[in-house]
């Protein structure tokens, strides 16, 4: 019996979390790509969290999971949030999406993955998800602008093994704890500051 290997993406957005400074220029570039000349991080597909200890800056965007649980959570028929098998990206039908009052895809993503879906009612009340800037590249291919704008080279638009892609769709808390534990074991859960009386 032949084993069917699912098609794997050639390119994927892989952040190197250690390099992120939290300057949020990726948010600026993302909003500019999707909405033109606006400065409002709420509209950004990539959000940078500041997480203690540190605080460490953790960029979170849709990982375009290959099993994409968000699409299964959509109550609309046919689903408004779908997975493009050819481009390996999540797509949203803005017109039909029920938005924040439904919110099931965001809830599922928050529970099971990184929580990279949000809404901006009332003007943009639909699932705001990273589409890897579909259509920005040559021949209508995806070309993530955040990767281009980042001055610290956090994002690799590369094969799935590049960057720190193994932290696949982790929530920001877990990434921060993982980083902290690597920098100094034992500091992930709480910030350790010895008291002067203990010296």
């Amino acid at each position: 019996m032949a084993v069917r290997i699912p098609p794997t993406p050639r390119k994927q957005l892989n952040p190197v979390h250690m390099r992120c400074t939290g300057c949020r220029l990726c948010e600026y570039a993302c909003v500019k790509q999707h909405y033109g000349n606006v400065i409002n991080p709420e509209l950004s597909r990539v959000r940078v969290y500041l997480m203690y200890p540190g605080p460490l800056a953790i960029p979170i965007q849709c990982s375009n999971c290959m099993d994409h649980p968000c699409t299964e959570a959509c109550p609309v028929d046919p689903p408004v949030i779908t997975y493009d098998e050819k481009k390996f990206i999540i797509k949203v039908d803005k017109e039909r999406c029920l938005g924040q009052r439904c919110g099931r895809c965001a809830e599922t993503c928050r529970k099971e993955r990184s929580g990279a879906i949000h809404y901006y009612p009332p003007e943009h009340d639909y699932a705001i998800v990273c589409d890897q800037c579909d259509g920005a590249g040559p021949n209508g291919q995806p070309d993530p602008q955040c990767a281009k704008a980042c001055p610290f080279n956090v994002f690799f638009y590369s094969s799935p093994v590049g960057g720190e892609g193994w932290r696949y769709a982790w929530p920001p808390e877990r990434i921060a704890q993982d980083l902290a534990e690597r920098f100094k074991p034992g500091t992930a859960k709480k910030r350790v500051l010895p008291l002067p009386s203990e010296l």
Partner: protein
């Protein structure tokens, strides 16, 4: 038109719990622009002369400028009457709160009154509310931030808060944002503590206010971002990007402008043990930047082993120089630890470093004995004793209760000639540079012994609110970072400010600050020239290494000061002349200055 401005201020009275708004005065903004200068104007107009800095009548004005929250400009200011000096006080901080405040639709927040119980202010867009902070009282700044974010269940909330130092009304207390961005100098945390205001939590979702010339603005911003990725950036901003201000430890020693042993020397054989390359190699784990800043001059460090293991800190030049070079703690782990201790407990590391160094010298000279210091053996370089003394200052225990009042508070009580080596001006300890380098700067500054706060240029940067550390951001066609900011200011506001207009703005700010100080009696020392002085030690001759022979003689200082007064349009006593006040549109100050006896 209110381009670049959010258009309104939040007016919070903690005594009766009322929250109102008032519009930004655009005619005034045309003259005072925003940030520090506009904040000073509000402080002048909304307070009465001679008020108690720790009373409910004092204001905490958290303010932004028209270009705050764009590329390289994410800074904001806090203006208040300083409890440390009794004069005007202001402090600036970068981070993510400025943009969040503007996204919420406010140019600034004016807090007055005093709450009965510990509270914090939560601002989300048009909603603002006062919430109980009973559970937060006693928590450190990082704990406070985490607790508030957890309570509000919104990870993007930006918090500025005080630690136990501010709660105990330690006059050096500062306001902290995200664990290390500090509104450091002149005691803003103490003002917040006196109002029982533990924190301000900000959240905005409205986006940046409208721009006068969007095309030009975005072209400038995009060019700057593109420039940040080019090689040119790496050259002009290499130092701040790779090492940050911490690089100054070694270079300052090499140039003889370091500060060692309470300003005794400008160089030290062991200076390479702290800061700069060694810190980056041993302790740096991640870099950090303010909102939309491609520079990232902050280098987060962690102590990996030894007694201080597990300490997270972000040491900065001025603070770590005062905390460690000054006290000869040439131990990198100790440096990070002391910085983290001050940041976490909300104490101005720069100011308290000077106090500890003074205490060490007084101990060496026998002016303070071991009994006076509660048994602490404060010899030079004793990091344990220094940490314990800082702990006492934070909590006002024992001798800490005396030292927490700042130079102005404890020097008269100690006496015995100790003021001769107290490296302060008007109650604020010096920054991280030798007086011979910054000349009359520390003495004539409106807020006391801090550098770069006496020039019109500094008032311009603190009023538009841009970062001088990102001054290497020069997109194509600009000769300096300031030119880029000026062009951005004009594109954002739609005004046509030329270089001389910015100079006028700066001088207006400095003069208004000085007028405010004179109105407040110049801290009890009038005329101003009596207070704009250096302690005796600032004029001594340096003898070691690269600093050998460096000296800032008293005659030189007096000449520099006279030159400064003359250049700013002040008389020889340091009082602005009436012509100067009229020239800069500050006629409204004349009446009160006459009442204060400025020209008598």
């Amino acid at each position: 038109m209110v381009n670049g401005y959010a258009g309104k201020y939040l007016d919070v009275n903690l005594t009766d719990g009322s929250i109102k708004t008032f519009p930004t005065d655009m005619d005034l903004a045309r003259k005072m622009v925003g940030g520090l200068t506009y904040g000073l104007y509000l402080l002048w107009k909304r307070t009465k002369p001679g008020m108690n800095p720790l009373g409910p009548e004092n204001l905490l004005i958290v303010n932004t400028g028209p270009i705050s929250g764009l590329v390289g400009t994410s800074r904001g200011t806090a203006v208040f009457k300083s409890p440390l000096t009794g004069l005007m006080g202001h402090a600036e901080s970068g981070g993510h709160w400025t943009s969040e405040l503007k996204f919420a639709g406010y140019d600034g927040i004016v807090v007055s009154g005093r709450a009965e119980e510990p509270i914090y202010l939560y601002v989300k867009d048009d909603q603002a509310e006062i919430r109980s902070a009973k559970d937060l009282w006693g928590k450190t700044t990082s704990q406070t931030e985490q607790a508030i974010v957890e309570e509000l269940k919104d990870p993007f909330t930006q918090v500025i808060s005080i630690g136990p130092a501010g709660e105990h009304l330690c006059r050096e207390a500062c306001i902290i944002h995200t664990g290390w961005h500090a509104f450091a100098r002149t005691g803003g945390g103490c003002v917040m503590g006196s109002k029982n205001l533990k924190a301000i939590a900000l959240r905005g979702t409205k986006g940046f206010p409208s721009l006068a010339d969007p095309e030009k603005s975005y072209e400038l911003l995009d060019n700057t971002i593109a420039y940040a990725q080019s090689d040119a950036m790496r050259q002009s901003l290499w130092r701040n990007r790779t090492q940050g201000s911490q690089a100054s430890h070694v270079s300052a020693g090499d140039e003889g402008r370091g500060i060692f042993k309470n300003f005794e020397e400008g160089d030290h054989p062991m200076v390479s043990q702290v800061g700069g390359p060694r810190q980056l190699a041993r302790n740096r784990v991640m870099d950090a930047a303010c909102y939309l800043c491609p520079v990232g001059c902050l280098h987060l460090s962690v102590v990996r082993s030894g007694r201080f293991a597990g300490t997270w800190g972000q040491p900065d030049w001025d603070s770590s120089a005062n905390l460690t070079q000054q006290t000869l703690v040439l131990d990198l782990d100790g440096l990070i630890y002391l910085n983290a201790l001050c940041d976490d407990y909300g104490l101005d590391a720069e100011g308290v470093g000077g106090v500890v160094a003074w205490t060490m010298e007084a101990y060496e000279k026998g002016i303070l004995t071991k009994e006076d210091l509660d048994g602490l053996d404060l010899t030079w370089g004793n990091v344990d004793a220094e940490a314990k003394l800082i702990w006492k200052i934070i909590h006002r225990e024992g001798v800490g209760n005396l030292l927490a009042d700042g130079f102005k508070g404890f020097l008269p009580k100690v006496g015995k000639g100790s003021e001769k080596f107290a490296m302060e001006s008007k109650g604020v300890g010096f920054g991280g540079y030798q007086p011979w380098l910054f000349k009359e700067s520390y003495a004539v500054s409106n807020i006391g012994g801090h550098h770069n706060t006496e020039t019109p240029g500094s008032y311009v940067s603190n009023s538009l609110l841009y970062c001088v550390f990102a001054g290497g951001l020069m997109p194509q066609g600009f000769r300096s970072g300031a030119d880029y900011y000026y062009a951005l200011f004009n594109a954002v506001t739609g005004w046509d400010f030329r270089r001389e207009d910015f100079d006028t703005l700066g001088t207006t700010g400095v003069t208004l600050g000085r007028a405010y100080n004179i109105r407040e009696g110049y801290g009890g020392v009038m005329p101003p020239s009596e207070a704009d002085t250096y302690p005796e030690k600032a004029h001594h001759r340096l003898t070691y290494g690269a600093s050998k022979g460096k000296e800032y003689k008293k005659e030189e200082f007096l000449a520099d000061r006279a030159k400064y007064y003359n250049g700013m349009g002040y008389d020889e006593r340091g009082v602005p002349t009436k012509e100067t006040l009229k020239k800069y549109g500050l006629e409204f100050t004349i009446k009160e200055l006459e009442k204060a006896g400025a020209w008598d």
